[in-house]
């Protein structure tokens, strides 16, 4: 239908022309030069790459571990490992995608160490009945207009942290950090169908959780 014609695939392509949105678009024209210089041991070039991506990598490691100390350690080790393995980066993917996979691995290791049963490698038990939302309420006009940027960020942080790690991690990698389904599966060590199943549940749960905030603030209760 017309209003739904703009699918996420098309939206991703659209957003990628906006230099302030997706990770892929952070890759400024000089990124390959910075990577090449860093490969030759230019630390200032590498530090520029760190400056460029540290905020996104810290958000990623926070959203995987749910623990600030682990998130900081994972970020730090991810940057150290990426520098020491730069020679292995062949440029077939974006540098950021490569970095995300290293950071996700560091963060997942810490999550599993601290909470061994928090992230499951098993296929999800299919319980399709619970997917159909029971309550659907109108969000009102433009929630993004009604909330200040910092307030909106707090809401997003809160609702994503409320998700179970199985769902949160897949959503973070696939939707927020823009890894492909296959890249996400490889990064977390689960199958492609498991990624798709968890992503569907994550997206539906986030819709529901966000709705509670938007509805409350919308004044309709």
């Amino acid at each position: 239908m017309g209003t739904l014609a703009t699918l996420l695939g098309a939206r991703r392509a659209h957003l990628s022309s906006n230099p302030h949105r997706l990770p892929s678009t952070i890759a400024k024209e000089d990124e390959h030069l910075l990577v090449a210089a860093a490969k030759k041991g230019d630390l200032s070039a590498f530090e520029e790459l760190v400056n460029r991506y540290e905020r996104k990598i810290f958000r990623l490691t926070m959203n995987i571990t749910g623990n600030r100390e682990d998130a900081e350690d994972a970020m730090q080790d991810a940057f150290l490992k990426s520098y020491s393995h730069l020679k292995d980066f062949e440029g077939t993917s974006r540098f950021y995608t490569w970095l995300v996979r290293i950071a996700a691995n560091e963060a997942l290791m810490r999550l599993r160490r601290r909470r061994p049963n928090q992230f499951s490698l098993d296929e999800p038990v299919q319980t399709e009945d619970d997917l159909v939302p029971r309550e659907i309420q109108d969000w009102g006009p433009g929630p993004d207009q009604r909330f200040a940027q910092t307030e909106m960020r707090e809401i997003l942080n809160k609702v994503i942290q409320e998700l179970e790690p199985d769902y949160r991690i897949v959503f973070q990698l696939r939707d927020v950090d823009d890894l492909s389904t296959e890249e996400t599966a490889a990064a977390v060590g689960i199958s492609v169908p498991a990624v798709k199943s968890r992503l569907l549940r994550a997206r539906l749960k986030l819709r529901e959780k966000l709705g509670k905030y938007f509805q409350q603030r919308g004044g309709a209760n």
């Binding site: 997706l22 530090e47 905020r55 900081e72 997917l131 939302p133 798709k196 539906l204």
Partner: protein, 78 residues
């Protein structure tokens, strides 16, 4: 198509990962079912909020520790 089947396909629909026939069937369902239409619109919007949200600046002490460690570790041979 029943609502249960439509909800099951929402993710693939939003990602454009489905054949034309199933896509058409879903679009027809969304035209007829206000409930599912709202779910797909809100789900799409929810994803967009996350994608478009800029990450916070690193806390100063975290940034200081990160760059201090990198300089110290990368400047000295392992």
């Amino acid at each position: 198509m029943r609502c249960k089947e439509a909800i099951q396909e929402i993710s693939n629909f939003l990602d454009g990962e489905m054949g034309a026939a199933l896509k058409h069937e879903l679009e027809e369902h969304f035209k007829e079912c206000e409930h599912c239409h709202l779910v797909v619109v809100q789900t799409k919007k929810a994803i967009e909020f996350f994608i478009e949200s800029e990450p916070e600046e690193l806390p100063v002490e975290v940034k200081t520790r990160l760059h201090g460690t990198l300089r110290r570790r990368l400047n000295s041979p392992a």
